[in-house]
Subunit: 157 residues, 2 copies
Amino acid sequence: MISQTSEYALRAVVHLANVGGGPAVAQEIAEATHVSVGYLHKILRLLARNGILDAQRGVGGGFSLARPPSDISVLDVLHVTESELARIDGCPLGIEGHTELCPLHRLLDEQMAAIEHVFQSTSIGDLVSDESVRTHPLCRFPSAKIARPAPSTDVQD
Amino acid sequence: MISQTSEYALRAVVHLANVGGGPAVAQEIAEATHVSVGYLHKILRLLARNGILDAQRGVGGGFSLARPPSDISVLDVLHVTESELARIDGCPLGIEGHTELCPLHRLLDEQMAAIEHVFQSTSIGDLVSDESVRTHPLCRFPSAKIARPAPSTDVQD
């Protein structure tokens, strides 16, 4: 349904929400998300180019959320990384007379619409502030109050 | 949500349902589905290896549906071509203590479950027998009663 790249992007954004929005360097985010730092760095730059993250160079720099977690929807992230969530707005075969979707493409489009609605109405903030579950995204601890890891120590995987 | 390969596979299976189950040669299916014959042939062989189609060599051969269209669900086809429709049955990060899904992975899994349910309960037969719409999958004509194209003529795109 979503690509591995999209899931890694969501993990990265969730980690930044976990640590107060950042900044965090790629190595820290890679350790927290269990993704190789080389691949994750490409995803982080992609998210930065598309307004989900801010990137600051130099000492004290790193990647930060460009907006509060409550203002970033899951769909905002997926729109950056996912090519296959697009709605179907006309016959993909260009068939003459198909001014409405046929049952095949209507079925596919309806599922995309349903998913799109849920992902649009769920924010990253919702995911990290849900106290009703015993598991917190990316963390061993059940609480949303996560201590920021020290730079050289991976205490939060 | 689904890959282009998956959509092409669904088109191919729908075309075979349109023509009474087959057999049809790859060239005919490629013309009906608007897919290059080389790429489609790989998809057809994949569907045959996984029990959705039967493949017969020689004169009068081609690809046929292995079961009636009403016995092939959309999910049956997608299971062959789609790697990203799998449910999430445990923490993808292997985090200790995550005996239930965290809000991030629960969200993704719930959407997959919803889609899976719809695709499992919709058969290829449902798609080609829906008389409530003015468009029939892959066809210019609004009727499910499609004349089989002559071998050298593309009357059905």
